[in-house]
């Protein structure tokens, strides 16, 4: 059914997607909180920059990353001096998936935060909570479902990331080839049977991700949904 190296490749893809989503969680939540609360100057510009990977074609983002990270690029020379290589390694795969899935997480989390009644936070403050405690005891418990939904969305996006990844990490079997890249590759070399087997795996993964999120969400609902 699945070729020899394909199982490792699937595991690699899932690991990268999980790691990327986990690493995006804190900065993504922070960015979402910032966008939900901040009302000062420059907010529109920041919003736009954070949404770019969502709106630009993945290949466009891929090229920008490549130019920045390549050996002669902006960051490439700095990283090269430190002995860090990113292009054509798993780190590039991680980076590409993180960049492309970040805005999805931010978007969902931001909506979740905006839906928390600010008066509830105010009440918590009068009851003795500083801003941080109010966030953890009121805002977060009321918004976690939206953040979870955003994480699942980001994870699915990470699983399926192609355009930016292929540009900055290449499609190197055993090293940077992920599930979507492998499907493309098998199709290119005329092995549609293998490609379709991998499509089946993708469907199963997506199903598992959505279903477990639904389970977690439902187990604790029914009390706070109005």
């Amino acid at each position: 059914m699945l070729a020899a190296g394909d199982v490792e490749m699937v595991v690699f893809t899932v690991e990268i997607a999980l790691l990327g989503t986990a690493l995006n969680l804190v900065p993504g939540t922070a960015a979402a909180l910032f966008l939900a609360r901040y009302r000062g100057p420059g907010k529109g510009a920041i919003e736009t920059v954070l949404s770019l990977p969502l709106v630009l074609p993945p290949t466009a983002v891929g090229i920008l990353l490549l130019r920045a990270l390549a050996r002669r690029g902006l960051l490439g020379t700095l990283l090269g001096d430190l002995g860090i290589e990113i292009v054509f390694t798993w780190k590039a795969v991680l980076l590409a998936t993180m960049v492309m899935s970040f805005p999805l997480l931010v978007r969902s989390a931001r909506t979740a935060f905006e839906e928390v009644d600010p008066r509830l936070v105010g009440i918590a403050r009068t009851l003795g909570c500083g801003p941080a405690r109010a966030f953890f005891r009121v805002t977060l418990p009321l918004a976690w479902r939206g953040i979870l939904a955003g994480s699942v969305l980001a994870f699915s996006r990470a699983l399926g990331e192609f355009g930016a990844t292929v540009m900055v990490a290449g499609n190197i079997p055993g090293r940077t080839q992920t599930l979507p890249l492998a499907i493309f590759h098998y199709n290119q070399i005329g092995r549609d049977d293998r490609a379709l087997a991998l499509v089946g795996v993708t469907v199963v993964l997506a199903f598992v991700a959505l279903w477990s999120a639904e389970l977690v969400s439902r187990r604790r609902s029914g009390r706070t949904t109005a």
Partner: protein
């Protein structure tokens, strides 16, 4: 004791309010949109643009000139907004405990005062309006506040419900003795609960004085025209089956007869309400009167309230003065004046158990 002199830019005008209030309950009244809620929010520390000076219990919590601005969590103010604002993801019990900092005794005391025991494990979604308000009140009390800010806590409730909560507010006032600012449109509430009334109009303090003194002001008189009730606290002393009455001993010692209410057990506390319009006044001796309740009294003051006259009469030692509403013709006919000795008569049917 609370003193403030604050300024806040609002949509239609600027809030510029100043007052010194010694303990007890201050009712904050005034037309809609005059800044009452904003004033509470400023005192609670929830309005960032507020300028001026606020001192609570002697501690300065806001002083723009000296750069002092205590955040809400350090002010020890209990805020109860109009819609209770319970935290939906916590049970009633956890809501009450939220600001209590582990003080079990206070929490239990608040739960007892507001009679929340059967509600503790329920979530706000399943509570009625009145139950939510009680939880919100308990929550504020449990946090050991120096000042209570109640923003029309009974406004969202229907009349019957309002009356059921009123006794709890009385209990809070008398047993907990936390200074409170109480925003309301309802003159009856103000008269029943407050030591003084602060009248706010277009963001400024228009008047500050005893509730009855302010009743004469047109803005309150209209509200008062809707009816004022005397609220009397006491305990059930006995049931008279044959006579069809239940006797209640008021806190001051006087006895009042109400229609038979067997379900009220002897010894339980009750709150009775008598409308000011339902009280009869007589200057002579009483004989052959059907009313079961006759109380000797002395007239303390008379005030014009719209087309009527409202009398304040002292009865026995501990009961608050009775309010009686008469037509000017009646006052003239009886020659009533401050100091006059009278008897107040009330049918048992005119006494309502709240």
């Amino acid at each position: 004791m609370i003193a403030f002199a604050v300024e806040l830019r609002l949509a239609r005008f600027d809030l510029r309010a100043e007052a010194r209030l010694e303990g007890g309950v201050t009712a904050i009244m005034g037309p809609s949109g005059s800044g009452k809620t904003s004033l509470l929010e400023v005192l609670a520390g929830l309005r960032r643009g507020a300028r001026g000076r606020v001192a609570i219990g002697g501690e300065v919590v806001l002083d723009t000139e000296r750069g002092v601005r205590l955040p809400p969590e350090r002010r020890r103010v209990g805020y109860v907004p109009q819609d209770a604002a319970l935290l939906p993801h916590l049970t009633a019990l956890r809501n009450v405990r939220f600001g209590a900092r582990g003080d079990r005794a206070r929490v239990d005391s608040a739960i007892e005062t507001l009679e929340l025991a059967p509600l503790l494990e329920r979530y706000p979604l399943s509570l009625s309006g009145g139950e939510k308000q009680r939880v919100a009140l308990a929550r504020a009390l449990a946090s050991d506040p120096r000042l209570l800010l109640l923003d029309e806590p009974l406004a969202a409730l229907d009349v019957a419900l309002r009356e059921r909560i009123l006794p709890y507010l009385l209990r809070i006032r008398d047993e907990w003795r936390v200074p409170a600012l109480y925003v309301t449109h309802n003159v009856g509430e103000a008269v029943a609960l407050a030591d003084r009334v602060l009248l706010l109009r277009d963001g400024a303090v228009e008047a500050l004085g005893a509730p009855l003194d302010l009743l004469a002001m047109p803005v309150l008189a209209e509200a008062a025209a809707a009816g004022i009730e005397n609220l009397l606290q006491g305990r059930v002393s006995s049931h008279d089956e044959a006579g069809g009455v239940t006797r209640v001993v008021l806190d001051g010692g006087a006895e009042v007869a109400i229609p038979l209410a067997r379900e009220r057990l002897v010894g339980t506390p009750v709150v009775l309400a008598v409308r000011a319009e339902d009280v009869l006044v007589t200057t002579g001796a009483i004989a052959g009167l059907s009313a079961r309740n006759v109380l000797p009294a002395r007239v303390l003051s008379l005030e014009r309230t719209g087309p009527d006259v409202t009398l304040r009469c002292a009865t026995d030692g501990g009961t608050p003065p009775w309010l009686v509403r008469l037509t000017p013709a009646a006052v003239a006919a009886l020659g009533l004046h401050p100091g006059a000795t009278v008897s107040l008569a009330v049918k048992s049917h005119s006494v309502r158990v709240v």
